[in-house]
Subunit: 248 residues, 2 copies
């Protein structure tokens, strides 16, 4: 008779973890579907027609390059709300939307403050919160993240926005800033994300890592981040599974 | 027949308020009773005798001068946990406690992370949270405040510790830093405190003010902050009354 197999223990070495910080857009909330519904509803109310889903995808696509401009110093420190605003203004003409009043622009930018959580997120976070300090570590600004948490009822203990550090992920100042504010060693903090680049940066600084694939984040035909590119400390199907794997 | 009196409306002019930040030690939690119990229990376990209540009072009394040294630049930026540590080490000999191991010193300093809320605090905050963004604005460091919130189950939306600003109240950087991070004008934020000095500094910068007297904060014989020294925007008996007066 074969020896009984040791049960899988993904938490090996994670006994000292005290806090988990979460990438938010994509990992905790489903920004794409939420924005598409919000923009479609806006269009109906205003009697405007546009390829709203494509607008959302282009809007998100502007994210990387804009952050890069801030990270390289080409653009001075600018919060995400403002980057969203700039990108929107630049995009609207190609979608035939040329004369929206300022109040509409603000409304659209604030749609990023009202995104729905993935179905597993609230249950997973509630369970994890009983055992760990939990909070977002997001490139969103603090006010965006606080509004989002109230809207989506995310049960955070603390909120880390990029403006606390005046740096965007994957700059080390963000991950190390979290450890410093929490008074914890990097090895006592897990970075949880649906994006490999985020975990790579966190691991390089000594944080522990949890990958939660979100294959529908970018809609049909997503080709990135479908699988872990390194052996992250934890691989979880979703946030409930993460709680499960951490016995929370 | 006399004209019917207009009901008291303390919230006049407060319709634009979106967030309330709370002084924490004294206003939300009863640090003195909590610390005295913790230290007495520590003494019993260690078989040590000391005037624990007096030690607590002296420890807290060191707070003002130490903060002042940081605020004037005499001492470089130092978080409250560390100031508590320094003050404790300095005080222990006069209480006959000279050879406590480092682990005991850390334990005692961390007693400030486990303080009980005043009886009205949780209900008041829960109600206020439904209508406003709520968080501490305290001279405690973020990690202390997060641990305290978990211990006392304070339902904060966001946590502002002095280390976010590297300034202690009543420095303007703290109050204005909160407004900036929340993306709000000072007039959209209420500072709620049991201490007149705190409200005075907040009002000078345009924040709205709520005074909650805590006549037992410093134990029997308290002589300070028993009454408002200015006509603050709201005067509430406790945090439930504050919720009541703001129709939350």
């Amino acid at each position: 008779m074969p020896a009984k197999q040791t049960p899988e223990t993904p938490e090996t070495g994670l006994a000292t973890v005290r806090a988990i910080v979460f990438d938010t857009f994509g990992t905790v909330v489903d920004w794409r579907s939420s924005l598409i519904s919000s923009l479609e509803e806006f269009g109906r109310k205003r009697g405007l027609e546009a390829a709203w889903d494509k607008l959302v995808d282009h809007w998100r696509a502007a994210y990387g390059p804009n952050l890069h401009r801030v990270r390289t110093g080409e653009l001075q420190w600018t919060i995400l709300d403002q980057l969203h605003y700039y990108a929107l203004v630049e995009l609207l003409p190609e979608f035939g939307l040329t004369s929206l009043p300022e109040s509409d622009l603000r409304f659209l930018v604030n749609c990023w403050h009202r995104l729905s959580p993935w179905p597993d997120a609230i249950e997973g976070l509630r369970r994890l919160r009983k055992k760990y300090i939990i909070g977002p570590l997001s490139n969103g600004n603090l006010s965006l993240l606080v509004n989002l948490a109230k809207f989506a009822e995310l049960p955070w203990d603390v909120v880390f926005g990029a403006d606390l550090f005046r740096h965007y992920k994957p700059d080390p100042e963000t991950y190390l800033g979290v450890c410093n504010f929490l008074g914890l060693q990097p090895g006592e903090v897990i970075m949880a994300a649906a994006h490999n680049y985020d975990l790579k940066a966190a691991r390089a600084l000594g944080l522990r890592t949890a990958f939660i694939p979100r294959p529908a984040e970018y809609g049909p035909g997503q080709t990135t981040d479908l699988a872990p590119v390194e052996a992250w400390d934890i691989l979880a199907d979703d946030l409930v599974d993460l709680a499960e794997k951490l016995s929370a």
